[in-house]
Symmetry: C2
Subunit: 648 residues, 2 copies
């Protein structure tokens, strides 16, 4: 039965065939796919058709967004930014000191880190709501990763220098990712990963605070729950009740203000001011009761003056280079993920656009500058940015206000923190961390997507029982495994005709769909790649075998045509094409005929190049399932007396 | 403009809506997806509705396929298998000795490995054409990986024991993968990877033979081309011309027979017998000319007798455990990939079915048994199996014949190999390897799929200039990167109406497609996952922005409806749902309306659970693009005087 002997009614009628797209030169298609991969947002669009001088200004504005919005800045904006800036300063000072303690670094570094980096970000950042500062998770990571190699108490200077160097590497990594437009790497930290990871990190950070709350002198360097609990309960005789009582009181106060502000969003400033209030109250209490002599540890002396330069302290040649680079890379990526997620969320609220790659460059430059001026890793923490947003900030000027206020503190007010009890700092950290454990999000994940829930729980358990890195590796591997599994085990479905229509849909989803006698329609829902070629070959052969058996047992018209709906096969590789060739052979051997429906342009091109189209015959490729069914039905009924099985 | 005020003509007519599938209990959907992942071939199908005794027999036959075909074995089959078995023995003996030398193991191991493993495979294997034996690539890998830790010349016994242990681990891994039904891991070695990897390994193996051909005593242990070339050219004074001349003559003879047999497939036996002929000729030549005293190295004494047991030589407690396990895992996977690919190819020729997981168990058991009987890693080499197939084998009995012939050799004929020159073995290896360099396949890859070509070249360069493992890691990473990139950067396309039809297709592929005024139709061609959620959000917003700008500049009807064709979105996760929510908000903010078309059942279920369906309104979900366009057009024309943009 030569194909040429037949007229194809439905395809002849409408005259639209699946055309083979004209082959493009290689460099052109390469350029196109590179552009879509690295420049999906088309950042040079606005540069088109502009005179050179304008292009230069646009270019400057691209890298320094402040040049774009500063000319339009008004006094009204400044009033709003001033209030927001002062509010976040009141949060930044105690948080900065607390997180620096968490990172086992001198407390003053927390203040330094709230001075230089916000200024850099104000120039280069494109978010209007992000408030720059240190974050708990990155601080903890620095402590646990560097602490494995160098003891911060025994070699404080070496540890400090390694922390600067790690910050430098983090900055270089962030800027490089931005310049190379590899921002999408951050996308591999899925929402579920971040929920689980943050909750795990918050749990770990809270556990670490038991040291401060219980006034312990010695404490484990490990972060997992087993080591911490062992460390806490092996030295019950060292617990200080004075410290514990003070800590619990402040924690209760902080939680109360948080709860109140959450119920009445207008009074956001109550919870924003609570940390500074706690610090002041705690310091006064210690000052008047001399509690520092009764087991309540205090911050002690803080050096006056602005950030000393630290460029010469960056050490690249030491034996610790590997661990420093590893720390820089992991903390850099985590900080990036948090900062970009926060920036994006607020930009969405206010309906403006943030360029992820530009933000990365800003974060990178801010950390490189920070590492040279005695700062450690900074990003855009959620808590501080949320306060900034609630306080009504308009532009990044609120960061400049904060930096100025911190500068004044550094120059004149550091002695005031001498009597601040460490236990208050622990309370501040715990109250901030409890807000990061988002169990409602975990419940939502469970309800909507079980696999995402597993990823989330994997990250949590990994962080809490292993370490922060283990949790991260588990979550990212599970996420990638999901993508690979999707491709390795694509869904295939048999299609039927929806009554009174030309539409063909899956029998499983639409039980009303009708079978077409003698024709079996199959749809593949994924690209055909090496990873699924073997599976698809076996699965298609099983579909056909089962259908033939079923028809035989019910005594219906035997199968004569297999229609493969390729509409959703977005891509194919050479393993996939071999698979199709084998499927074709297999179908021929059973005495059936194969027809393809609606292959995309890329698939069409490859099928043509690999001669598969010649093999199957281009007249067996249809635009729609309905057309293919029409043509097959026509052939079925024309030669009813002699079934295709025998003539082929 | 409340949605409830409107009647939806086209959807009301046909009465088919996209239904939300009834929610299944969790364990049921878990069971279903686990089954589809691990048991896509449904191996228990034949066990259904059978009495227990029959089930027992079927179960035995499942693990020992010989029980299934042995009762039907005839004398006709045996005649064919006998001829095939003798033919492959003549290839197996010289190849076995050569490859054992390649692995730096005693030559006799090559014979041992052609005795026990084929017997095990004949019981358990399901391929009728596979001939079991050692392979060059795995031998080379064993030499290079174990050789890094232990020098085979200085500590031959330790090296031998480590090789047995590595074989044991390889067997355990193979059997475990089969039992856990993780066979699809092998699928991640794509066709392109294997082409590049095999060519690279063949190049490296040929380079290693320069030692034998040039009669060198000392040789580098590295496998990369730079080290080998340096090793060869720094000792030009050690080159032995006698050896080189002999080697070139035999190589020429072997290539000639190969060429002849390729041209005349009927005379396949000429090339099959050529290696044994070379060995006999070479040995006679050395015996009569006493060339062993003139720089031609010979095999020397081979111990008579069958495989000695080696169970007690397996060493699990030594300091080399890590490297042994690594060697076992890598060689095990490579051997598996080759064996299964070979088995599948011949099964396709003869149109019978091979169960990959069952084959893995067979390979695993054969190597575990081998490691206890002084064999090293075996699999189904392509060359030997092809000869087996050409010689007309019918069942695995040809393996039993080969094992018997090798047994006879071991018992009585080993002294005959005393004078076999090593250079002949080198020629045999080179001539076998040259057949593995499939440059035509590489050209085909370049023509059809550039990325596959890059994977192939990456594997080749990695193997030749780095090491076998580096090449493998490069190729697998590139392949996985491709899958991840496909998901991270899915194709989106704007659709238009194909004239005179209800069909909507991409403008890029079908330039005849027509725009619908006021409506923009967009299709997403991949699952919506965390990895692409951010990209898709930006890309969709850019599509809409560009379309609005275009319409503004041409002065056409402004945009009012966005139709998102979800037919190809096979799956969605929580990040994807958040993305859709944001897209919806963005579209609302622009004063437009969003309609979804044809979401699959899984997507529908998740959209419902996450309340997105409530948010968008289920009446905005259509079965086909045509229906959605019909409904939008109806609304557009009903309220033409008051554009939707203002009423919403």
């Amino acid at each position: 039965m030569g194909n040429a002997d037949y007229v194809f009614p439905s395809s002849g009628d409408c005259g639209h065939r699946v055309a083979i797209p004209p082959s493009q030169p290689f460099y052109k298609s390469l350029k196109k796919s590179l552009k879509e991969t690295f420049f999906p947002d088309d950042p040079v669009r606005q540069f088109k058709n502009q005179p050179p001088s304008r292009k230069f200004i646009l270019g400057l504005q691209y890298f320094l967004p402040i040049l774009e919005w500063a000319p339009r800045y008004t006094f009204q904006y400044f009033k709003a930014d001033l209030i927001a800036g002062i509010t976040i300063t009141s949060l930044a000072i105690p948080q900065g000191i607390s997180y620096a303690k968490l990172a086992n670094l001198p407390p003053i570094l927390g203040l330094y880190s709230s001075f230089v980096p916000p200024l850099v970000y104000a120039m280069m950042g494109s978010s209007r709501d992000l408030a720059v500062g240190t974050v708990a998770v990155a601080s903890l990571l620095t402590a646990s990763m560097l602490g494995k190699e160098v003891n911060a108490n025994e070699h404080p200077t070496l540890y400090l220098h390694l922390a600067f160097t790690a910050t430098f590497f983090a900055g270089v990594l962030q800027a490089t990712l931005g310049i190379l437009r590899l921002g999408f790497i951050v996308d591999f930290l899925s929402h579920a990963t971040i929920v689980g990871f943050m909750a795990g990190a918050a749990t770990v950070v809270c556990l670490q605070q038991l040291k401060g709350i219980l006034g312990l002198e010695h404490f484990t360097h490990a972060t997992d729950v087993v080591s911490v609990m062992r460390s806490v309960f092996t030295q019950t005789h060292q617990w200080r009740w004075e410290s514990a009582v003070l800590g619990c009181c402040f924690l209760f106060f902080l939680m109360l203000t948080r709860y109140f502000s959450k119920r009445r969003p207008r009074f956001f400033w109550i919870s924003a001011l609570a940390p500074l209030t706690s610090v002041i109250l705690g310091s006064l209490l210690v000052y008047f009761t001399h509690a520092e002599n009764h087991g309540v540890q205090v911050i002690g002396h803080l050096k006056k003056g602005l950030n000393p330069p630290s460029l010469t302290h960056l050490t690249f040649g030491s034996q610790y280079l590997t661990v420093v680079m590893k720390t820089g890379i992991i903390t850099g990526v985590i900080a990036l993920a948090e900062g970009i997620a926060v920036g994006r969320s607020f930009a969405m609220f206010k309906n403006y656009h943030i360029d992820g790659n530009k933000e990365m460059i800003a974060f990178g430059m801010m950390n490189i500058a920070g590492s040279c001026t005695s700062c450690y890793l900074t990003t855009g923490p959620f808590s501080r940015s949320a306060v900034n947003f609630n306080a009504g900030c308009k532009t990044a000027v609120s960061n400049i206000v904060m930096a100025t206020a911190v500068m004044i503190t550094l120059l004149f007010l550091t002695p005031l923190f001498h009597y601040t009890p460490l236990v208050v700092l622990s309370s501040i950290i715990i109250s901030a961390m409890l807000g990061l454990i988002d169990y409602e999000a975990a419940v939502h994940l469970w309800q909507v997507d079980k696999f995402d829930f597993i990823v989330c729980i994997g990250a949590y358990i990994g962080v809490v029982f292993g370490s922060v890195e283990i949790g991260l590796v588990i979550a990212v591997s599970l996420s990638i495994l999901r993508v690979l599994l999707f491709v390795a085990r694509p869904r295939t479905s048999a299609l039927g005709n929806i009554p009174n229509s030309m539409t063909y849909r899956s029998f499983v989803q639409y039980p009303v769909a009708n079978n077409i006698p003698g024709i079996f329609i199959l749809r593949v829902d994924a690209p055909i790649y090496f990873a699924n070629a073997n599976y698809l070959r076996e699965r298609i052969s099983r579909w056909i075998g089962e259908e033939e058996e079923k028809l035989k047992s019910t005594g219906e018209t035997s199968l004569q045509y297999i229609i493969l709906d390729m509409g959703c096969v977005a891509s194919i590789d050479t393993s996939g094409i071999s698979m199709l060739e084998e499927v074709k052979k297999n179908i021929d051997r059973r005495g059936l005929k194969l027809a393809l429906v609606n292959p995309g342009s890329e698939v069409m091109k490859k099928l043509d190049k690999s001669k598969f189209l010649e093999d199957i015959g281009q007249e067996w490729v249809y635009l729609t399932v309905a057309e293919a069914v029409g043509a097959c039905n026509f052939m079925l009924h024309t030669c009813k007396s002699a079934p295709a099985r025998e003539i082929v």
